[in-house]
């Protein structure tokens, strides 16, 4: 066979393989971008709720103070590293008993694809009575951390120990929230291998007016 033709075939084969590889890389990149956008939309959905709930804690609660006394007076019910419960009036009707809102992370692995995904629950007890109304947020939350500060504007690492249900609940002035969301399915940079999950982290320190 003509040597020139053989070399041409080899070069053509190499170019075809390179085109195929390039095509895979472009597709993976586009897929990763799409998944990133989806994950970020999930973050926005969750933070919209947090941005409404946390700054408004204590809204229209009788005697909006930092007191930690009977229901109807106090704002925070408990405050742990992965859960928080507080009172706020979800309506403008000042005659209602304040509603009790609880946010907590439940380690139940609801998604088959990503083993780290947990359920973030927002539990509302309307007027602090009756059956809790639970919204199970299954949007790829892998971490939900809360830190508490007794003085506004302290450095991030100067948080107070978890107040829990103790007397230091009335010292809380700021709440720092870290939320991590991951994709359910992995993305691949190569044709083989385990792939990786797209991850996005959102954090913010809240200064609820009624705690100050």
């Amino acid at each position: 066979m003509n040597l020139g033709i053989v070399i041409s075939y080899i070069i053509a084969g190499m170019i075809l393989l390179s085109i195929a590889m390039m095509n895979i890389r472009v597709q993976n990149s586009a897929a990763e971008l799409t998944i990133t956008q989806i994950v970020r939309e999930h973050v926005v959905t969750i933070t919209d709720m947090l941005n409404d709930d946390l700054p408004n804690m204590g809204y229209d609660v009788n005697r909006t103070t930092r007191e930690n006394s009977a229901v109807g007076n106090k704002i925070l019910e408990f405050a742990y590293q992965d859960s928080i419960s507080f009172y706020r009036n979800l309506t403008n009707d000042h005659t209602r008993t304040p509603d009790r809102i609880t946010w907590k992370l439940i380690d139940d692995n609801p998604a088959a694809g990503n083993p780290d995904i947990k359920t973030l629950a927002r539990i509302v007890q309307f007027e602090n009575t009756g059956t809790p109304d639970t919204t199970r947020i299954r949007l790829g939350v892998t971490d939900f951390q809360l830190r508490y500060y007794s003085t506004v504007g302290l450095p991030l690492a100067s948080n107070m120990p978890d107040p829990g249900t103790g007397t230091t609940l009335s010292d809380v002035r700021q709440i720092h929230v870290v939320l991590e969301v991951q994709s359910r399915e992995p993305v691949y940079n190569r044709a083989t291998g385990p792939g990786r999950f797209v991850r996005t982290v959102w954090d913010k320190r809240f200064t609820p007016t009624n705690l100050n």
Partner: protein
């Protein structure tokens, strides 16, 4: 030869596309942090008194707005050397700090000034409106060689606290 040249050009375009996709992802993630930090400072400043003369005041000032802090004196008052010492809205004027987050370091600078109640432009005399401007930069958010500046603003009214 021609095929290889054409393929090289396609490959360069593909690499450029992948690079652009990565930049979009990173920018979005960092801009999310920028917004959080900006809102954090603004919310914190809003939780403070409107002016030094209204801090723990038993009654409203007798002279409004003339009795408020003079525009040239907006900023931390005596003894307020740290952010945790601030007790009124304009103490944040001139505040500069670097915030270390999961997304790297962000430099934050704050400006507070009086604005006119009708056009919300800066004025050189006290008024019942103060504006806070929080400017945030990250070494990873750049337009060419220049760091991009993100500014979040909030106007506060003495009567609408």
């Amino acid at each position: 030869m021609a095929a290889m040249i054409i393929f090289s050009m396609i490959l360069m375009n593909a690499n450029s596309l992948i690079h652009r996709n990565s930049m979009i992802q990173i920018d979005g993630e960092l801009e999310q942090e920028v917004i959080s930090l900006g809102q954090e400072i603004i919310e914190e400043a809003r939780s403070k008194s409107f002016d030094q003369v209204t801090v723990n005041a038993a009654a409203p000032p007798t002279n409004i707005p003339g009795g408020f802090t003079a525009p040239g004196n907006l900023g931390p008052d005596s003894g307020e050397t740290q952010r945790s010492h601030f007790n009124d809205f304009d103490d944040y004027n001139g505040f500069n700090d670097t915030f270390t987050t999961a997304h790297g370091d962000f430099s934050v600078s704050v400006e507070v000034f009086y604005v006119d109640g009708t056009n919300f432009q800066m004025i050189s005399s006290p008024s019942t409106f103060k504006k806070i401007e929080v400017t945030i930069e990250s070494e990873f958010l750049r337009s060419g060689d220049t760091p991009r500046q993100y500014t979040l603003e909030f106007i506060r009214n003495y009567y609408a606290d």
